[in-house]
Symmetry: C2
Subunit: 341 residues, 2 copies
DNA sequence: TTGAAAGCGCTAACAA
DNA sequence: TTGTTAGCGCTTTCAA
């Protein structure tokens, strides 16, 4: 390990000068010294020691990426294709900005904040964590925090968040179904909080707006794990005649369902229509191709990191809680049944 | 930030004593003091400062996870479903062992080692990096390194690696195809190095063993990106009559191909048989279900972290380069054409 | 059984 | 324009 001291003594200058050159505080350093120091730094392969820098009161250059702790058996937090894309994007952006990414999966606010303190983390990006946790994190953390895909119970606009117009687009895709003649539409998700709650609400709004009844029995909770999913789909199958269309809160579940139905001889969209949400690899890699709501995970990541960097550099932000636009993508999983009625 | 000093002065003891209690060096501390210190630590919510610890010569408790830098347009390094599962598993294991995970995507050995030095990283887990890079990393890094899914040009057994019996199982699945009467089998992958090279080699061995010709023209290089894939598949389609079976080096490409063929009216397995490799979500979420080689990404992750921890704790390892067993999973994407001939 | 003191590598206030 | 020095929080050696 080459230290600043070593470089300095090699050159016969003081550590301060070397440090100043490293940080570009060169107003008071002669051109000649700057050059000599820079060359020596290069020559000796000087690599900074971040622990020392951080300890000396500088920023750690670490950004903590918090992902939700896995609830599901045999499934981990990175595995969801939407999350993966987001994480990959965030890693790339953080790295390119000269920061380091510490990945930490947890639902426990205490642990998250401890991790942030231990490492003197500069900022936190928090993915898809529940409203209560968000509140606590925001209240306690003394560093910039950007949430991604979070929904809050209290003052929405006091949070820094990058999300999607989930409700609006859930409403749109539901209206599309209604427009295609569907009146009996089920909503299926593995929970009904946060993002999924918003999508459910959008679905409800669309039904109400068109004078269709909103029934609690039209909500199916999909259980976790392979066997849980199968069990849940069995329940849907039993009641399939009650519905003409199924709105899944994610492409993942929608594509699994299409294949499940295929196996049981139920054809999509002829026998039942299906829509999803997200437009990830699953929606395109299933037949029939899935009609869904398209969102850009990469964009979310880029914006989130952009916000974080702006906050770190203490620039202010005009918009705090951003909800990105999405796009209805019509493919082949919905049948127009208007004429049949 | 509560420091050891503060805790110490609150208690009227020295920082040394507090530090000793924290680290369990309690042979020379009285029971009473231990208790008092522990309670105070708790009460004051003492959280260590890792920068200071690291600077004072202790281990950083950071494990660096290096993933290959993305080559493909619009695709990032975390996005591959196999990688995601592995990363999620590694994160969980690392966290549970009391370490922290720094995620870093790069192909550049210099940058990787700089990152390791900057942070005084305790160990490195390196995923799917090329042989040349592996060699350099092993030679230069002065910390434990475990490679995952890497293949090496020089002395294989001098590396710590967790891989799969890629060659053997590629051979097995090829033999299965031959056993089902297939003689004209293409091999398709997006490259032919590392893991994919092994799979290709296994494929070649099987053909040779059964007296079938190995032709360079039976290798298809799948191009990156959505349009690249389509273009590549178009080329396969053009020559589809030359083959009765297609061996894809990954489930991802195999499942995409099945759907591509479906769209063009080519039925799998009736018109052409398809096999994949990995058995991830794609193989099960496609119809017909994909016949493939099953491997356990989670297990790889667990073993890799186990090896790393053992190395960090300076316990020795008997087996260094582990190649896990896989399993041939026969589903519905291969037709038995023996009788037709 | 406990504590004082030095030092890890770096930064920054201040002096020269 | 350059250098001296103190100190960030912690560990560890050595003395008490």
């Amino acid at each position: 390990m080459v230290t600043i001291k070593e470089v300095a003594s090699c050159l016969g200058v003081s550590p301060t000068t070397v440090s100043n050159v490293i940080h570009g505080n060169t107003k008071e350093v002669s051109q000649n010294t700057i050059k000599r120091v820079q060359e020596k730094l290069e020559e000796m392969h000087y690599i900074p020691n971040m622990s020392a820098r951080t300890l000396a009161g500088n920023s750690s250059k670490i950004i903590g990426l918090i992902i939700r702790y896995p609830v599901m058996e045999g499934k981990n937090a990175v595995q969801d294709p939407f999350n993966s894309e987001l994480i990959g994007m965030i890693e790339a952006e953080v790295r390119e900005a000269g920061f380091f990414l510490m990945l930490y999966a947890s639902d426990c606010v205490e642990k998250i904040l401890t991790m942030a303190t231990i490492w003197n983390v500069d900022a936190l990006i928090v993915l898809g964590v529940g409203a209560n946790e968000c509140k606590k994190i925001k209240k306690t953390a003394k560093i910039p925090v950007v949430f991604v895909d979070c929904y809050f119970l209290d003052d929405e606009d006091s949070y820094n968040n990058v999300g999607l117009k989930d409700r609006e687009y859930a409403e749109k895709i539901t209206e599309y179904l209604i427009d295609q003649g569907h009146k009996k539409i089920a909503f299926l998700a593995d929970n009904r909080v946060g993002v999924d709650f918003e999508r459910w609400t959008g679905y409800c709004h669309a039904l109400e707006r068109h004078g269709l009844p909103v029934r609690e029995s039209s909500f199916f909770r999909i259980k976790y794990g392979e066997s849980g999913i199968k069990e849940s789909y069995d329940a849907v199958y039993e009641r399939k005649d009650e519905f003409t269309a199924l709105f899944f809160a994610s492409d993942y579940y929608a594509s699994l369902a299409i294949n499940y139905f295929y196996d049981r001889g139920v054809r999509v969209p002829d026998d039942i229509s299906v829509v999803g949400f997200d437009d990830n690899i699953f929606s395109r890699n299933v037949r029939p191709r899935l009609t869904t709501v398209q969102q850009d995970a990469g964009k979310k990541g880029r914006i989130a990191v952009g916000q974080i960097l702006a906050m770190i550099e203490k620039r202010t932000l005009d918009v705090k809680n951003i909800h990105l636009d999405a796009k209805l993508v019509i493919r082949d999983s919905v049948k127009n049944i208007k004429t049949e009625q």
